[in-house]
Subunit: 347 residues, 2 copies
């Protein structure tokens, strides 16, 4: 290994439950795939449920600051049934997405050969959801008055800015140019008229700069129908934070389970580190048994490689995963075995 | 027909597109089914796209006032591609739901024998979504500043009150008592903490009064997964306005198309008229050809009968529809033929 081998510094937040099992596999695959070209230096961050239960810390300022200097973050899963819903999600996961301005939440869905979709006629499913990641109902705006009384009022506020929408719209159009050149904007503009109208105007305006890309519009309710009846119609789905959250879980189900669904929380301006995480959660029901499927974590790692400029290596990993699923996807294997099988294919 | 036959005054808003085709069928079935017991007097209201295009009126105050005196409203579908999204939906449909305080949006989903679900293993699907109908993101709160400039900000505000939530929660528990005694609260409490927490507290508190009813909780994103992987798990789904909108469309797809999905917008306090409408829209693509499936409209009419106290007649209609679907569901028939076939079964 020469003196000038490039080193990429990766912060690893394996997190909770199966996050701790699938992330090491993703790291092994990354290390194997990059050898001879560059090097990864992984730094584990002890964040998640156990840390919180131990010392009450969720994401201390100095650790957030330290994370800022990494080239990327590899995240496993966050969440533990012992902790009230929202605490870790908002204090850690969403805090990172917002603090590092990860405005593109990229979530591809593909029905791999060898995976059984719950749909009887799934067709050829291969689309990407470009979910806005730093606005909408996820801002944490809103509050409660007279909590616990019969006169309680609770509000949630969706904040949407032209600044925030335009940049993710541009990202989606650039992505569409590399794909089948079609964008479906998903919103609920007939009810959420202020935000919906703004999204649509910006898509129309930016779209003029991309004459090759066609775009149409679909209400979120109708989109959940198409996701079941004709998911092959989608190429790039562009949507807001909450609708993207909902639609990508449904998409995960349709392509045979969120176990195959990678995601990237991308700060596309490059100012802050991006974060790569499987869509699935910490799965406490199967955690600790070494049987979690690491495929989504490995695919998220491949997405990280692409983000760092290693398109070809990312593609090799994706091809290995695809072949692995096709040939062994239905064979019960341990988490580590899947990792070894993928690495064997890379050899 | 004796002098003292009870007369029910029903306002009919057939509306747009296929709404104009399926609503008359629902009326015929109602008239046939009630004969000898009571009488319906239908009053058509000329509201919808054509009226709006003709004289700009959406729902004039005097017509809203007039509607108030009816025993119920039968609605077809609202929406027309010539009119900007949101105008009729908000000015007519949502205005009625809000003005008449229709706080229970009741949406049953059932997979009928003879209908092909897009799922390969749908199981035994039979659940009801109790969707809150007068709060949440549907309030029309929110606004825009600096519209059309790069500094534009658009907000949408979800307003949720203990008053509004408790009454629909009670409705759901009462309904669960008549069914399989299980409620799934669907929300996104890990992100929408103010509203989600209030919903959950109220469900827990009201639930104590119904010890026989079990209840659990599911995030909206996870719910869209279960809707595809295991919809038979649901009995009563209780949720807010927007999540209910999304989930019932997905549910419609899963039970073979929104063509079978009835709905009621119910003012359960009885102060204002309730409204019964199929979930499907005006379907401009097939409108005018007499081929729209009137099943959802007929089932909505049955729901109206139940609301007016005619449980047994409602059940007879539902049984006739069920038999009709089982035996002729896959046969292409005109809208009117389906009506005649259902009526023949009632004979
Ligand atoms: C855990 C939760 C806050 C998160 C979200 O809602 O974004 C998750 O559902 C996801 O999709 O990454
Ligand atoms: C037309 C629209 C405003 C309406 C809604 O969002 O409630 C519709 O989708 C429905 O579900 O009845």
């Amino acid at each position: 290994q020469s003196e000038d081998t490039q080193v990429h510094y990766i912060a690893v937040i394996a997190g909770d439950g199966i996050g701790k099992e699938v992330t090491p596999v993703a790291q092994q695959v990354l290390e194997y795939a990059i050898q001879g070209v560059a090097k990864f230096e992984f730094t584990p961050f002890d964040l998640g449920a156990e840390r919180y239960l131990r010392d009450g810390a969720i994401l201390p300022d100095d650790e957030l600051e330290a994370l800022k200097s990494y080239d990327a973050i590899l995240l496993g899963a966050i969440g533990d049934p012992r902790i009230q819903a929202g605490i870790l999600e908002r204090g850690l996961l969403l805090k990172l997405r917002f603090a590092f301005d990860q405005y593109v939440n990229l979530r591809p869905s593909k029905l791999y050969k060898g995976v059984t979709s719950p749909l009887s006629k799934p067709g050829d499913i291969d689309f990407v959801v470009v979910r806005e990641g730093t606005e909408g109902l996820y801002c944490g705006a809103g509050g409660s008055v007279r909590k616990g009384t019969p006169a309680e009022v609770a509000t949630e506020v969706s904040i949407n800015t032209a600044y925030g929408v335009e940049r993710v719209v541009r990202y989606a159009f650039d992505l569409a140019m590399k794909r089948r050149k079609h964008i479906t904007l998903v919103h609920k503009k007939n009810v959420l008229v202020n935000a919906g109208d703004m999204w649509q105007r910006i898509v129309a305006r930016v779209g003029e700069e991309y004459p090759e890309v066609t775009h149409d519009y679909c209400h979120i309710d109708a989109a959940t129908i198409y996701m079941v009846t004709e998911p092959s119609r989608f190429d790039v789905i562009l949507t807001d934070n909450l609708f993207g959250d909902i639609l990508t879980d449904e998409a995960g189900a349709v392509v045979g389970g969120v176990g195959y669904s990678a995601s990237g929380c991308i700060n596309a301006s490059g100012e802050f580190p991006s974060m790569f995480e499987p869509i699935h959660g910490s799965a406490p029901d199967i955690a600790g048994r070494g049987i979690a499927n690491p495929t989504a974590a490995v695919l998220s790692a491949a997405m990280m490689l692409r983000h760092l400029g290693y398109d070809e290596i990312a593609q090799r990993i994706e091809a290995a995963v695809e072949a692995d699923i096709e040939q062994l996807g239905s064979t019960p294997r341990s988490t580590e075995q899947v990792g070894r099988d993928i690495i064997a294919r890379l050899a």
